[in-house]
Subunit: 121 residues, 2 copies
DNA sequence: AAGCGTTATGCATAGCCGTATATAACGCAT
DNA sequence: ATGCGTTATATACGGCTATGCATAACGCTT
C-alpha cells in the first residue's frame, strides 16, 4: 500500500510535516512534552528541540511550557498551535484527495511489499 | 515563501520523491548516472545507490545501465521509468494545486524567512 | 521541608548517511 | 593494443542526528 506524505518547507527546512504535526497533537492530548515523547517513542531531547524549532519558526509559539507546579509542570498547545495543526491537516487531506485517483495506478508499478507492523497500526 | 513537497512511501521508505524524480530526469537528459550525479552535485555512489533502490522497488527497472562501449557506457531511463516520472509529476502538480489556496494563510503564520540562494535558483 | 514530574541543558556516544578515494571490469573507438 | 568514460564495488572518513545519561531549576502538593 502506498501513502503520500506532504511537508511544508521554508527554504529547505521543514516548517511542519507529519512528525511535528503528530508531536503537537500528542502534546495537546497528554499535556506535556515528556509524555508526548514517550508516546511517540522518541527521546525527550528530540521532542524538546522540535518544539523549540517550531516555536522559533512561527510568529508566535505553538507550544507554551511551564517547569514546576502541579504535576511537575507541562506544555500547552496555544491557539496558534491548534490553528497550525488544523491547517496542516486540511492541506494534507486535500493533497491526499487530489492524488487518490492516481495512487492505484502508481502503486501497480511497485513490487508488492511486505507489511510493516510499525506503520500499519 | 512556503513550498509543499510530496513523497510517495511504501512502508516508511520513499518509493519516489523530489530527489529521485529529479535524478531520473537528469539521467534521462544526460544519458548517464555519472553525469547526472555531477549535475546534481551528489556523489556517484549515492546516485548509483538511489538507482539501485528504485530498480529494486519497482516491478521492473526504471533505469537500464551499460558499462563499457561508446562513451564508456551509460544509463537509459526505461519506458516504465518515464511512466513513473510522469505519474509522480502529475500527482505533485495536483497536490500543489489542491493546497495552493491554503498556502498563503499558512505562510502568514510563519516568520518571514531569509531567502536561500540554493533553492531560489 | 521534602517529594514529585516536568522543563531545560550539557555532554558523551552510537548509528546512519553521504562523501571521498581507489580499483576493477566493461566495451567501443582509435 | 591503448585509451576513454562509464558502471560497479570496497573501504575509510567526517558529519550530522538521535539517544542516553546526568544534572539543575522550577513550582505545586503534601
Amino acid at each position: 500500500m502506498t501513502r503520500p506524505r506532504i511537508r511544508l518547507l521554508i527554504g529547505d527546512t521543514v516548517a511542519l510535516g507529519p512528525g511535528k504535526a503528530a508531536l503537537l497533537e500528542a502534546i495537546a492530548e497528554t499535556g506535556s512534552i515528556a509524555s508526548a515523547a514517550r508516546r511517540m517513542r522518541m527521546s525527550y531531547r528530540r521532542a524538546w528541540s522540535l518544539v523549540q524549532a517550531m516555536n522559533a519558526d512561527f510568529t508566535k509559539p505553538l507550544v507554551e511550557r511551564a517547569a514546576g507546579g502541579r504535576g511537575g509542570g507541562g506544555a500547552v498547545v496555544t491557539p496558534l498551535g491548534h490553528d497550525a495543526i488544523e491547517r496542516y491537516r486540511t492541506m494534507e487531506a486535500r493533497a491526499s484527495a487530489a492524488v487518490e485517483s492516481d495512487l492505484d495506478g502508481f502503486t501497480a508499478l511497485l513490487k508488492p511489499q511486505v507489511s510493516n507492523p510499525d506503520t500499519d497500526g
